[in-house]
């Protein structure tokens, strides 16, 4: 619980707050359970970034001591990141984040090939993959979207069947952002390599949170984003094996070997490397802690009648993708938000195009059930007290919405 000074009266944000006697201060409970969307920057990360904003501000490409000290920091970060995933420093390319890394990997590879060649991916990928694939299709490439089973997993047999002579690249995400399912990456990579096909994995949800070894896991290219593992926003990386040639998306200077021109984001890159280092050191302990809290949250939430969990296991540690019949996710989100709890939903009502989540529909979930989805994703700063609070607040919200729902009992 934080004691915050309230500057506004009766605004949307403090509707669920408790005001003390004087009325000057508002006791605000803020429980963040949306870590799959983004994570708070770790204070230790911020500390190592700070000098690179105004003190060591040099352009890493400049030939003088200001440039050198920036370049040194960027190259040290590259080494650290490479080591963290068992790659070579020369195989790490800094980008602006997961979306850019995904775009660069897919378009970069496909555009070095012929138009008749094929890209194979899955129907639960992030939009950064799906929409890039759609765009490549418009360019004339062939695309194939593999379906997942009801539990949210890609079947190896389906990958093997899809692999044709014309298949240039297979891209399957490591863990899904909405349902947390961890795909059998190693086996998928193996199947690809047997057919001499390249394999890319969008590991935005797992880098810094799950062990990644690109050698053991048969990964040729991998995308990551710093803000998903307590690093800064606006920076990520693409791992690409040395021997693979890809086309750049942007043109300019010779940064990142000409593959990603743009002045190096030194503080971001330094921060990302530090965040990854911390993530790996604390991984086992933190995952065990989050898993324990997640399991309790799931178990006790499912005591609410007509509820379920989306997708099977293995799942990333902090992911609790729940669903409640007869109610709508956006309403649940806002009522939780009024009580100081931040979550997410795949409900159509909460989307731009009024379509339910493509991931939930890929599981075979009917539209009406997608509406009732509610995703909690736990992280480092969550405690058992947070879970207690959610379990206290959530059941009355579901009850209240069910009372006004015509679907109840049907």
């Amino acid at each position: 619980m934080k004691l915050l000074k309230s500057t506004t009266k009766n605004t949307a944000v403090n509707a669920g707050d408790v005001t003390n006697n004087t009325g000057n201060y508002t006791m605000t409970k803020r429980v963040y359970l949306d870590h799959a969307a983004t994570t708070p920057l770790d204070k230790r990360v911020l500390k190592v970034m700070e000098p690179y904003f105004s003190e060591k501000f040099g352009n890493a490409a400049s030939t003088h001591f200001f440039g050198e000290e920036a370049e040194e920091a960027v190259e040290k970060a590259r080494e650290d990141i490479a080591k963290a995933i068992n790659a070579k420093p020369g195989e790490i390319y800094f980008t602006s984040g997961g979306t850019e890394s995904d775009n660069l990997a897919l378009a970069g590879i496909m555009r070095t090939g012929k138009k008749c060649e094929q890209l194979v991916t899955s129907n639960i990928e992030h939009h950064a993959i799906i929409r890039t694939a759609d765009s490549l299709k418009k360019e004339g490439f062939e695309t194939k979207f593999l379906s997942v089973n009801k539990k949210g997993f890609i079947q190896i047999e389906d990958v093997e069947k899809a692999l044709k002579k014309k298949t240039r690249l297979v891209s399957v995400m490591h863990a899904n952002n909405e349902i947390g399912t961890i795909q059998p990456i190693k086996e998928i990579g193996e199947a690809c390599h047997k057919k001499e096909t390249l394999f890319h994995s969008d590991a935005v949800q797992t880098v810094g949170k799950e062990k990644i070894d690109v050698e053991k896991m048969n990964i040729d290219m991998l995308s990551a984003s710093a803000h998903k593992f307590y690093g800064p926003k606006g920076v990520g990386f693409l791992f690409k094996r040395e021997e693979i040639k890809i086309e750049p998306l942007m043109f300019g200077g010779s940064h990142e070997k000409g593959l990603r021109p743009s002045t190096s984001n030194t503080p971001g890159i330094v921060g990302m490397a530090k965040a990854l280092k911390i993530g790996i050191i604390e991984m086992d302990e933190e995952n065990a802690r989050e898993k324990k809290m997640r399991d309790r949250l799931v178990k006790e939430s499912l005591e609410i009648k007509n509820s379920w969990i989306n997708g099977g296991f293995p799942k990333i540690a902090g992911c609790a993708p729940l669903g409640f019949d007869f109610v709508e996710g956006q309403s649940m989100l806002l009522m939780l938000s009024d009580k100081g709890i931040a979550a997410s939903t795949g409900s159509a009502c909460n989307s731009e195009g009024l379509l339910p989540s493509h991931v939930l529909t890929a599981l075979g979930l009917p539209r009406v059930k997608c509406h009732g989805s509610l995703r909690f994703t736990l992280g480092r700063e969550n405690t058992d007290t947070d879970i207690d609070y959610v379990l206290e607040v959530l059941p009355p919200i579901v009850k209240k919405l069910r009372e006004i729902s015509p679907l109840r009992g049907k």
């Binding site: 806002l334 009406v368 049907k410």
Partner: protein, 129 residues
């Protein structure tokens, strides 16, 4: 995304729920996609006119669905049936300080629900007569 007024009504909807001995019920929408409202009305006679005494709406819905459901009730209560049946989605949206374009269908559904409830009342009355 939503106006202050919409959020206010969503947080404290006055006309959601149901009427046990309703004079008319309008069930509209598509249950398979969750776009659904049930409108309950209570009618009374006043100076020889049929007036809406109470309106309550059940909705599966999102923020806009709950807000428009409550607002159609707020506008309709006290109105003669002929006036109430003419309420438009724009009237409802206006009362809410506007709605995002993609949420106007919630307003349309509220209007249709009320119309269906009034028609249900009239049909029942016709049969009884």
């Amino acid at each position: 995304m939503f106006s202050k007024k919409t959020m206010e009504v969503f947080r404290n909807p006055k006309h959601v729920g149901f009427i046990k001995d309703a004079d008319g019920i309008g069930r509209v929408g598509n249950p398979s996609c969750g776009d659904i409202m049930w409108v309950y009305i209570k009618v009374k006679q006043k100076n020889g006119k049929e007036i809406l005494e109470d309106v309550k709406v059940k909705t599966f819905g999102c923020v806009a669905a709950i807000a428009t459901a409550s607002t159609v009730g707020e506008i309709a209560i006290g109105k003669a049936l002929d006036k109430a049946i003419a309420i438009t989605e724009k009237d409802i949206a206006k009362k809410l300080g506007g709605l995002p374009k993609e949420k106007m269908h919630c307003s349309t559904l509220s209007k249709k629900g009320l119309k269906a409830a009034i028609e249900d009342y009239r049909n029942k009355k016709e049969k009884a007569d």
